[in-house]
Symmetry: C2
Subunit: 337 residues, 2 copies
DNA sequence: GTGAAAGCGCTAACAC
DNA sequence: GTGTTAGCGCTTTCAC
């Protein structure tokens, strides 16, 4: 009924607890015979070592556990990233604790605290806009931290991001190149770093073409599919509606696409690729980022730190890829209701 | 540099270690004064309790940690399921360890062993086709196990699945209702429970209409997008090609859609809904399952067990939803190359 | 090769 | 209220 301990195994094998410890740990200096008897007792009792107890005493520090904290585990982008991080971890014999923050600083704090209380060796986090002072003590005690997807303002640690600004600039420039001048921007909360970067890219492109922003065409703070649909509806009833649209993330793109007839009556370019993008009418042009590369890069940085790398924090910026399909090439046309 | 312990806090506050323990645990019987001094020392040192050490000694059993083992964390269906389980766990103050098996019994074993070695209180697993004898000892020692998405042949535990057979039957019946008689089946490995169930549903529908299966139209073992495309290509060059197709999971549906012109030249119904399904031409008809409901149901079963429920194992079967959009209503038409 | 003793960071049980 | 002692399951250290 109770979980067997080394003591139980020792008793069953007629040896001391210490001998069992050696056999389980695969240490040398145990006669083949004794080892065999111990192994038999292990099998008979179904013994498995308690790694939490082990880590408490062991000199080599570490629990072979890392924590992964993202915005939303269900988001396809993060899901792929999580998978690639988990693969890297598994390859190295680590396990991973995961948590979603929902972009709420409070939940981020709770989740991270629960992870550090369990002595994770490192943390890969998609930081919220909240402060991260609570990370100082564990970091001083040796917990390694890597930021991914966006930097944390108050954390000077390894950070893996993509060039959001450049990606957005390319997307909007593409639209401009096809003659559009009234291009709407639909984004999530401006406070989120990726969103302000993408908005900056939008502005860059307009400015480079000598255009001014029309505030009527800019919608920040779109948190959901529904928000995006509402924003789109608002845009359509404008006296001078946009002829093209830049959507600043996958959720918003999905909302927009859901609110439009097909073939879509306006030009669209979205940030983040989508599974069926190519099969739409017209095929959806997107700025795509590689979540697997982002994840494995972050994992490699983290494990290097865990393995003792104490060099200056690295800021890795990956490039986005512009995939021109056709939705960005729609002719300039007034949007009817 | 080193992580402070209760001893350090005790020293800094000029009290005994036991008093610190009481304050940290929020136990009564400490004077407000003393408590304040301890709290100040805690803040000054950035102390955080080591929960691994705590769980070692504490009488109330448990580590407030559960393990979640799925096929592939990146799969959209599992990603949503993971998120809903994580939400339930977080609500109850639990953290979750995750791992992907890739459908490999060996990796499943490794991942689960790493989890049980860390004393998880429970496990939610999408079992591979491998045996699960290795789970017996931890289960006898009190680790609770719930299967999700499919049952494990050798495990009599709470299991949450959907009615795959019924869902597939409905899909194929829909196709038959629109006059199709040559309906292809494209599925993943038949050994996977969900796939054999869906195939059974396909057979049910044919049989109910007095039709026999044409083995030429049946393709099992499609593991990837590419496999699905290849299978589709093979189907198209048949002397008497299918006029309709039932795709047995999301990955295969994506592959098929990618290999076809649009508007699609044949009727299609897929198992699993897809984000842009509604926006395709024609909109994709699907059998949809609710990953959030599956996840939260499994989580609730698991936590009930952890909280002491010792009743007979429950087998919960959720229903699928048939979403007729239009791709299943395509007229019967010979598929050209 | 094997084992006894000490102790990792903490809490249970009992003293004062 | 507060402190002392023992001990969770294991590894370290050192003795035989």
């Amino acid at each position: 009924m109770k979980r067997p301990t080394m003591k139980d195994v020792a008793q069953a094998a007629g040896v001391s607890l210490m001998t069992v410890s050696r056999v389980i740990a695969g240490e040398p200096g145990v006669s083949p015979d004794t080892a065999a008897r111990v192994e038999q007792a292990v099998r008979k009792l179904g013994y498995q070592r308690n790694d939490n107890a082990r880590n408490l005493r062991q000199k080599r520090p570490g629990t072979s556990t890392i924590g992964l904290v993202v915005d939303d585990l269900a988001n396809p982008f993060y899901a792929l990233m999580v998978r690639s991080i988990e693969d890297e971890a598994h390859r190295r014999g680590y396990v991973v604790l995961v948590g979603s923050t929902n972009d709420e600083p409070r939940r981020e704090r709770e989740v991270i605290a629960a992870f550090t209380a369990r002595q994770v060796d490192g943390l890969i986090i998609v930081p919220t806009i909240g402060g991260h002072g609570f990370l100082k003590p564990p970091m001083e005690a040796g917990t390694q931290v890597v930021c991914v997807d966006r930097p944390a303002r108050d954390l000077d640690v390894d950070t893996v991001t993509v060039d959001n600004r450049d990606g957005a600039r390319g997307a909007v420039t593409h639209l401009l190149g096809h003659g559009h001048t009234r291009i709407a921007y639909l984004g999530d909360r401006y406070e989120i770093w990726t969103q302000s970067e993408r908005y900056a890219g939008y502005l860059d492109a307009l400015t480079a073409h000598g255009l001014a922003v029309d505030p009527d065409l800019v919608r920040h703070g779109l948190r959901s599919h529904g928000d995006a649909q509402d924003a789109l509806a608002g845009l359509r009833v404008l006296p001078d509606p946009p002829t093209a649209l830049f959507s600043s993330n996958d959720v918003i793109t999905l909302g927009v696409l859901d609110g439009l007839d097909h073939p879509t009556p306006m030009a669209i370019v979205g940030f983040d690729d989508l599974p069926l993008a190519k099969q739409l009418d017209p095929p959806l042009t997107v700025v795509s980022q590689d979540p697997v590369a982002v994840g494995s890069t972050a994992a490699n940085l983290l494990f290097a730190r865990i393995d003792g790398d104490r060099s200056a924090p690295r800021k890795v910026v990956l490039l986005t890829r512009f995939i021109a399909r056709r939705s960005g090439e729609r002719p300039v046309r007034r949007l009817s209701r």
